[in-house]
Symmetry: C2
Subunit: 122 residues, 2 copies
């Protein structure tokens, strides 16, 4: 698989709860990181378990899938019950499998003052 195909398959197998299929895309020593919480999970088994144990009937819908030989990225809409937000993952690859996943979960916030003359809100 190309990098782009790896990212697309990752999203599809996660959404489909295809844990065996997800594991096939991952290096045994894959590292998962969430910089916002400073959390790290080491290893394919723990990372698949983390996803399988994640509570709730969550769904992810890919919006942008990108990848080259070394890196990939995924912009997706994440939904869980009444909540829905955009989230981002970056990937590192080595010889056709994913060696690192870095997740970002940007939270809603208020803008700083001083740019109202340029900006509209929605």
């Amino acid at each position: 698989m190309t990098g782009k195909e790896l990212v697309a398959a990752f999203a599809q197998r996660l959404e489909g709860r295809d844990w065996a299929g997800l594991a096939e895309l991952l290096h045994p020593d894959v590292v998962y990181e969430i910089p916002q919480t400073r959390e790290r999970i080491r290893g394919r088994d723990r990372y698949v378990t983390f996803n399988a144990e994640f509570p709730g009937d969550w769904h992810l819908e890919p919006r942008v899938v990108l990848g080259d030989e070394r890196n990939g990225s995924l912009l997706f809409r994440w939904s869980l019950a009444d909540e829905s937000s955009l989230a981002v993952a970056f990937f590192e690859f080595d010889r056709g499998v994913i060696t690192k996943v870095t997740d970002f979960w940007p939270e809603p916030c208020e803008p700083p003052p001083g740019r109202e003359h340029l900006v509209e809100r929605w």
Copy 2:
């Protein structure tokens, strides 16, 4: 320029305060959005002004640059005085210029309980 080159040039010209050079990469009707604050800026002139007016001696250092014909992404380290964090931008292209920029500024937060058996903190 390819999509990947557009993203790399965007980061370089922003960091270099090369406002004329940045404008060359942008469609006149470029749209800039920050989903977290629900802010939108329409048009190249306002978007360049927004960046030129952004206060402080900020710096951005690209970590990952990706792009194809239609979409691009940038993972970068953003620094301003003592603060430093990872941030993300996604891009849309049309005929060699940037038509949309979507920024994400993920803030530090605490993890939910229940995954301590899988996770280490740093």
